[in-house]
């Protein structure tokens, strides 16, 4: 085990800590434990001291913050100006940091409408495996200069470099929300309703599916429009529907965010899926005793797996799917059938030629 570096407080201190440590992995608050778990012989670089909002001009709808800044601190600053990160970065309530959100590449239910973290990140400052402190992207909402490294760092799992600072665009918060929760007898019926919804002209802000057949459909806007919109939506969705508004509605969506399984031995994994793949995957997962939920219009499965993670890897590989183990024992957090491995290995060789960070 290498000596643990001190907890750096500035980007420059991060760069020198990286240069001084032969093998390390960056970590924030550890809310996604498998992602910051060091392989044998790797030190943990604690970034919780690297905190603070560096720039935030509400009129610009952008902010820049250091990587260790808790998401909750950013969310409060934004909310004071009626703004937010609409992709609902998970585990914010448990202390998740901005850098960890980027490196994990996770987004919550709100990603359905306007896109995920990758679609809101504008710029990133980072330290490479050679200890260089570099910048990519920008602070303005639109920018096509140079390679899009801010996107590359999204989901980089601390293996391409240490994110020290990032800039994001933000959106105005909706004035109000309302949700139609519809019960269907089984998955096929719920999936059929979801397929109709995704091409419908309703401005849907969130679309979550829970087995055996519950669809939660969220809309937003000024509350006075709901009287007209909700009955229409309800009629369109079908099933046994009920409307949820106000505090109860907010509570409902907090509950729909990804969360850690209560039993410590259980695995939490993110599995990108497509609506057409859900029916069969769901049968397999159900048979294996997994709790699961399909988020963002059926584009992600959050899987609460009874363990061991290796069996989930096998199941996913057999279906041609990849997954990310957020908590659980497995050799690498990326499991199943990943794509673009050759391209990724060339990228890794450029960003971390000496292999200072763990391999994927």
């Amino acid at each position: 085990m290498s000596a643990a570096p001190n907890s750096p407080r500035t980007p420059q201190e991060v760069a020198s800590a990286v240069r001084d440590t032969p093998h390390l992995i960056p970590a924030g608050a550890g809310t996604k434990p498998r992602l910051s778990q060091p392989p044998p012989g790797f030190a943990v670089l604690d970034l919780r001291g690297l905190t603070g909002i560096v720039a935030y001009e509400p009129g610009e709808y952008t902010f820049t913050a250091l990587a260790g800044t808790p998401l909750s601190e950013i969310a409060s600053a934004l909310a004071r100006n009626g703004q937010h990160l609409p992709f609902d970065p998970p585990f914010a309530d448990s202390g998740a940091t901005l850098g960890g959100a980027i490196a994990s590449g996770l987004s919550g239910p709100g990603r359905y409408r306007y896109g995920g973290l990758r679609d809101f990140i504008l710029g990133v400052r980072y330290v490479t495996g050679l200890g260089e402190l570099a910048l990519a992207g920008g602070r303005v909402v639109k920018n096509a200069a140079g390679f899009d490294l801010p996107k590359l760092f999204t989901g980089s799992l601390g293996r391409l470099g240490v994110i020290v600072e990032a800039s994001f665009k933000v959106f105005p918060q909706q004035w109000a929300h309302a949700t139609v929760v519809a019960q269907f007898p089984d998955m096929p019926a719920a999936l059929e309703a979801m397929a109709r919804l995704v091409t419908s002209p309703f401005d849907i802000e969130g679309l979550e599916l829970e087995p055996p057949g519950t669809l939660s459909v969220r809309i937003g806007g000024s509350a006075e429009t709901f009287a007209e919109r909700l009955p229409r939506l309800e009629g369109f969705v079908g099933g046994r529907a009920r409307r949820v508004t106000g505090g109860e509605e907010e509570e409902l969506w907090r509950g729909l965010a990804p969360r850690m399984p209560e039993t410590p031995s259980r695995v939490l994994a993110k599995v990108p899926v497509t609506p057409r793949a859900i029916a069969e995957l769901d049968r397999d997962l159900g048979a294996a005793g997994a709790a699961r939920r399909y988020s963002a219009g059926g584009s992600v499965a959050w899987v609460d797996w009874p363990a061991p993670a290796g069996e989930l890897a096998g199941l996913l590989a057999a279906r041609g799917l990849a997954g990310l183990v957020i908590r659980g024992d497995c050799q690498t957090p990326l499991i199943g059938r990943t794509r673009g491995d050759l391209f990724r290995s060339r990228v890794k060789a450029a960003m971390d030629p000496a292999g200072r960070f763990p391999d994927f």
Binding site: E60, A136, T199, D203, G297, V300, L342, V347
Partner: protein, 494 residues
């Protein structure tokens, strides 16, 4: 006018390469005579003109892979080209290199409404994707002004934007998966059909690579539902600054318009002369704001928007009452670039970005620069994004006029950087702005990008000479063309 490169006997290596190509491509799809090559010599940045060694026109993914592998084996640089609409010179050929014309690889392989995706080949035209998706009430959101002709391959390579980025984002926000042949001929699959992925966002970093990472052969695109309704408002102003302030006021309401565009007086004159959109006469600026979405929501937002616009000092406010009127409002804006041809023989388009709150300041500075340089500048821009499009007007027949226009263009880019912005919002760096990239990024920042470039294209064969100025740490191009093209006498300018 064009000065062709001096005729010289082909080097043996080139002759060998050409005969290898003949083994793969039939004569009809392998062009090498000067007359056949002429249409491929330049793109939307007409000031640059280079004749390639040859052009191939693949009709399958396998043929693209074969062409790239041959280039790699023979160390011949290559450039993939769609419709050649790049405004940054991104698809200008390399002398002695191969041009891979992707237009016939234009199939829309699948539209899947349940997954809201389209799987398309790179030569598919942008608006053809939306047409194919229309029966399912879906469309492809990125809408560069050239969308009736530009191809998805080019859009992805340069991360194209458009008027509706404000709400929908750029091309990269709509590309889920890419199949690409890397510069050494390896085929890779990045991303997939899901909106989400795990691991580093490889699709994201591939998008906008400006052709430096090889040639993409297939894309999974994200489709979005057609809005139930649009509401489009046009406001005319005495002063362009007032139009700029109106944008800030709209943004401050928390309404999220689909698009917010401004045109200045010169751009309005050009549009009026070209397509007669009937914009208010003698206005110094016109602001277009469009809301889209579910009827009830849009109507409620539109009421708020109307109040803001009326309070913004507009001289005249018009609301599109029919879809035809809406199209007319947009026609003037979307044809602005080509319309400028009515008032000037030549022009350069810049696409720098400034923070939105500094829009009025930037416009004022551009006007000052225009006056001090004695060069007319027309402005059309994506105001909601702070993405400027100053059109710098010049007459290429006047000696030195292009050089003077380029000096002014450079000053405008520096202004954008000084205000905290970017040298390009959506056109890319290409040939045109590569000298300015080092003003936006430091040596270390660029060093990492170059290292990434080298890791993916060690021989520097894929679209060499774009994005980066050749330097000690740059990849060594496969043949000639390592030097600034003009110095090498390989290009000439109009």
């Amino acid at each position: 006018m064009t000065r062709a490169a001096p005729p010289a006997p082909l080097p043996a290596a080139s002759r060998e390469f050409l005969s290898a190509l003949e083994g793969t491509f039939p004569r009809a799809r392998l062009l090498s005579s000067p007359a056949e090559l002429a249409p491929f010599e330049s793109d939307g940045l007409t000031a640059f003109r280079v004749s390639p060694l040859a052009v191939v026109i693949p009709i399958s993914k396998d043929e693209v892979v074969a062409a790239v592998r041959l280039c790699h084996r023979h160390r011949i640089p290559f450039v993939a080209r769609g419709s050649g609409t790049s405004l940054s010179g991104g698809s200008v050929p390399v002398a002695g290199g191969l041009l891979i014309a992707m237009n016939r690889l234009d199939r829309i392989l699948k539209v899947d409404p349940v997954q809201r995706i389209a799987i398309v080949e790179p030569g598919a035209v942008n608006s053809a994707v939306s047409r194919a998706a229309a029966p399912h009430r879906l469309y492809y959101a990125p809408d560069p002004s050239s969308q009736p002709i530009c191809t998805i391959g080019g859009n992805v390579a340069f991360n194209a934007g458009g008027a509706h980025c404000l709400k929908h984002g750029m091309t990269s926000n709509h590309v889920l998966g890419i199949t690409a042949v890397l510069p050494d001929g390896e085929l890779v699959e990045l991303g997939g059909e899901s909106l989400e992925s795990v691991g580093p966002d490889l699709t994201g970093v591939y998008t906008g690579n400006e052709g430096l990472f090889g040639v993409a052969v297939e894309f999974v695109l994200r489709l979005v539902p057609m809005p139930e309704t649009y509401r489009t408002i046009l406001a005319a102003y005495e002063r362009i600054e007032d139009a700029g302030s109106a944008v800030a006021s709209v943004v401050a309401t928390g309404i999220l318009p689909g698009a917010m565009e401004i045109m200045d007086r010169l751009a309005l004159e050009a549009a009026e002369a070209a397509v007669h959109p009937g914009y208010p006469k003698d206005a110094n600026a016109v602001l277009l704001v469009e809301l889209e979405g579910e009827k009830a929501g849009v109507e409620s937002d539109f009421a708020r928007l109307g109040e803001v616009i009326r309070a913004s000092g507009a001289r005249e406010v018009r609301i599109a009452r029919t879809p035809e009127e809406r199209m007319l409002f947009w026609k003037g804006r979307k044809s602005a670039f080509s319309a400028v041809g009515r008032i000037s023989p030549d022009f350069l388009v810049q696409d720098g970005v400034v923070p939105r709150s500094r829009l009025s300041e930037a416009l004022g500075e551009i006007e000052k620069l225009s006056r001090s340089h004695g060069i007319r500048v027309a402005n059309v821009f994506h105001a909601g994004d702070g993405n400027l499009h100053p059109l710098i007007l010049y007459d290429g027949r006047e000696p030195g006029a292009l050089d003077r226009a380029e000096v002014l263009a450079g000053e405008i880019l520096r202004l954008c950087l000084r205000l905290g912005g970017s040298i390009t919002g959506e056109h890319g760096v290409g040939l045109e702005k590569k000298a300015y990239l080092p003003e936006m990024f430091g040596e270390t920042d660029l060093g990492v990008m170059r290292r990434l470039h080298r890791a993916i294209d060690p021989l520097g064969l894929s679209n060499p000479g774009k994005m980066f100025v050749a330097g000690a740490s740059a990849p060594v191009p496969g043949q000639r063309g390592a030097h600034p093209l003009e110095k090498a006498g390989l290009i000439s300018r109009e």
